[in-house]
Symmetry: D2
Subunit: 330 residues, 4 copies
């Protein structure tokens, strides 16, 4: 029987939705309401938090959501305003039309209000439509200014609320403005406010060609790691696969960096199980994450740090494999 | 005034649809019927052919489509059965459920019947859901057998109809079974029927890490180039951008190979102008393609072939730039 | 104490060389002779085979190599003619100069003779300089014909020797002619001889966007898997890292496919430990491969095949993780 | 006859060297001395500047270099210390061995002295060996600190000399520390000195998944664009191909951004013509760059800016194609 003091686990509520894409335009399953999704999330063992897209599905009120969360034993960690729907398809902060920008601002302000009312940690800002598709499409100086100014206005208007920018290289735009850890930190410097930080997605960092562990360290060193989530992919796209199915070593390194920096937030899932059972996908993920947690406990950190001081990858990997693949020492 | 004898231009009818994706789940614009889309296509200058997804949108009959095409001055070049909707989301030919495979077969047979009735050139087979998402998900031997057997059954049951497989590395599956020119030709060898060939998409070849010109040559050498379409991307995804906006030289090389092989089919567009005016996107594309056509006329093919015999890229590029960028010799 | 009947392990002899690249033009260490390298290989625990580049380093004779191998307790599995040195920098089989092609043929014939004399399994043909660098540089039809004809001539002239083509997408050419599993099999069909097959490099398959397990199955199904080697990379380049340091699950799937097909050849390393201790790199690799071998023994293959019959990735991954990460079931 | 007031053109002197790589270990041609390379550069039409690797080849003195440059009608724009040779193969600034770091510092200080003596614009710092190869190899916090502190020490010790960091995602390290425009700017902020800036390489930006035009704007907005060079590639590697052979539109956008920001530095080449005539490669490049310069003159900038204000890619591309492909309006 486990005696481990595991971290809290969470998931984007969309983990329990059905999806649609440009080919399966009738969706991978029937549409589910926010409440339906919460009831699915309830069935996952060991899930404590969800990140909620906002607005909720039509006809669902905030009080209903609060009730459903309570009934499901779940808390809201973040609220994600849907600044990527049709009206923002040419951008939220960076939309060329000032009316669309104003609408995006309004929606994000509402999300901040929901954060207050529901007691969540942050508004998650994922500006997937902010960017460009073609060479020569935009004035890059102006685009970046719109992105930075928009975030500053939003965060400045809500100084009591945290805003966590989730960067990604691309999709749905061919190129997203907030595309990498470094660029996001550069923008945060330009914004100049304490309540703007980063939601670091493991898969987005991989897709961006980063070492997710390195990105975590860089963001932590500037005090901006407001949240994180995990998943997996083949490095060429944001596949949002179940965590641990491809990159075991790098997810281990990611959590190792969080541990040595004493980061003790929620371990969240951001996965899109298009064709899979959603509850089973979450359970398999958490089973794997618990293995990672225990492996961190077995890891000889002093020896690893000695190997890293020499930048000796063979010594480091031997130590890591001993912890991750317990039976390798047979 | 132009005296050029331009090729016929065509487009996938979806060029004139509105799109949806996993984020903009309310779509980039209102849904349009098959007839609406044909009426949009009519407005493009110099468009002669369309490739029609099948089934048509709800309530639209074949005779209505035929009438609309006639009214628009358009012909059908291909019929594309939608073997990537919800019921085939776990695969068409390679679905693990034999009932879903049978349904896919039925739908593709119907598409063959529409080809006959509408006088199109081929059924385009785009098995975007055939493949896998995770390591260890499938028995690769069995998956490939299902893919090949399914195509053989379909083509064998319709010996009077051509079937053009459109390969792509991935999307919506993380990995598609028919992923490259070479693998598709290998499968066609295994199928062993004359009425199975390739629909070569320029952007898919780029995305697959191929030289589209080389892929065209390889397919032509085996007598299997049943059709082609063009677009553009940044090589990392099937962006379906407007042709000529990124890869001018490689699209020129692609059409050069078609020309020296006397391939005289329709120059088709496969583009998804998510956020752009669809008619303007088509017009800009055709304007560019006409420039390519004229540049081929200006190209000193004998000199180019001499440079290629020496594999001299500098000499070759100089000749190519002289034709493509006319004013470079100022 | 281990009671496992492990496979034989091997390595490309270059694993024990020092390297050079376009920046560190003075090399990552002093040059080592063929004999020096064999003496290093001797120090690796559990190494039985080496693949030998040919010609040997200056002044080293075949009989000296044979003696050194015997002294080291090693056998030659393959001979790799260096058809990528300066004189072949514009191609071996596909060089535009027929004299260079003739020289390449001569060198490869010599390699075949060394295979006979040393009792190796095959000539490994790695035509890294065969291909192109620029759009429009080559006549693709002619390039492919040169590649195929050259291999046919070579194998036809040496019907008693096996020739294993090692494909890779690129490097040193921007694009290699033998770039993927499917294209190589297509070429082998065109060659039409039984003594031409494939040396499947795990990392090259990853780099080519393939599932290495799928590539193995495809090649096995045509009876052409003459050899294989392993390493690791980040999918974007042929990094030749130590096996198991990045892609644990996919290397496991690769060996799983070999096992269920009863492939019982040598498990070879093709690694370039530029900055690492070469012997330690080999030992760490073999330690990891033994873990894989034992994990295959623990794998519930019947349950996995049942999951694969349903194409259920969650069930499959659970079974796989149980075998690979033994302590995950705690 | 041309009446254009073209910019000055330059090239890294290595454009005229012969290369070596990990396969063609005997090199793509005989080694050439610094003086030999200058004499080759002299033969290029319209070349005014070179960037000189330091130390010069064995036996060549600074005064000989100065004489040769004068004789060739060339000036030095930058000095590039070779902090990527064997002794720095485990890193220059980030080497785990403090003695190696001290040696790197000494070499770069010498390069600063050469900049003063030869009247060049900057020391170009290209730390290609600073980074890591394996997950878990390094302590990311420490690695970044070494990189930043090393640059600060160097620039602080030479306040009269400019230092231009040339970032690249990778090669020869699997991952370089200074990997992108944004991260480099972040590091420059941390360094806090005015004499540290960026050498922006067009191909490195493409390889990093950036829009080179956007990167230029971002760096210009912070006043850090100390130099730039151009080439081309297929986005997946730093191929250092001849400029204009693949990405015509994006190189045009890059120079457009430089123009509207009134950046008036030298247009430099950073190309590795492994298998090509080096002088012809430079001439072809400059011919293309002059075309770009003239196309900028033809570009309807007011109309383009209006299109960009609407983020209308079709309007923008039409305007761009009119300028780049003059005869498209036929």
């Amino acid at each position: 029987m486990s005696t481990y003091n595991y971290p809290k686990f969470g998931a984007g509520l969309w983990h329990f939705a059905n999806y649609i894409d440009r080919y399966a335009v009738d969706g991978y399953g029937p549409a589910l309401s926010t409440i339906d999704q919460i009831m699915q999330a309830k069935q996952v063992e060991d899930l404590s938090y969800v990140d909620l897209p906002y607005p909720f599905t039509p006809g669902v009120s905030l009080s209903e959501v609060k009730d459903a969360l309570q009934q499901a034993g779940l808390k809201a960690i973040g609220i994600t305003p849907e600044i990527y729907l049709r009206k923002f398809s040419r951008g939220a902060f960076t939309n060329p039309d000032p009316r669309a920008r104003a609408e995006a601002f309004t929606l994000m302000n509402e999300a901040a209000e929901v954060v207050r009312e529901i007691g969540a940690n942050y508004v998650k800002v994922w500006p997937g439509q902010d960017g460009w598709d073609y060479p020569f499409q935009v004035d890059h100086k102006n685009l970046w200014k719109l992105a930075v100014d928009g975030m500053r206005d939003l965060a400045g208007a809500n100084p009591d609320v945290k805003f966590a920018i989730e960067y990604k290289p691309r999709e749905p735009r061919v190129k997203m403005t907030w595309d990498s850890a470094a660029r996001t930190l550069l923008g945060i410097d330009d914004i100049g406010l304490d309540n703007v930080g980063v939601l670091l997605d493991f898969g987005h960092a991989l897709f961006a060609g980063e070492s997710p562990a390195d990105s975590a360290q860089l963001i932590l060193d500037r005090g901006r790691l407001f949240g994180m989530d995990v998943n997996d992919n083949l490095r060429g796209w944001d596949d949002d696969l179940v965590v641990g199915t491809v990159h075991m070593t790098e997810i281990f390194e990611f959590f190792y960096v969080l541990k040595i920096n004493n980061w003790d937030g929620v371990w969240q899932l951001d996965q899109f199980p298009f064709r899979e059972d959603h509850i089973d996908a979450a359970n398999l993920s958490i089973r794997f994450l618990k293995h990672i947690y225990r492996a961190l406990d077995k890891l000889d950190i002093a020896a690893l740090q000695a190997a890293q001081a020499e930048q000796n990858p063979l010594a480091a990997q031997r130590i890591v494999q001993n912890a991750l693949l317990t039976s390798i020492q047979e």
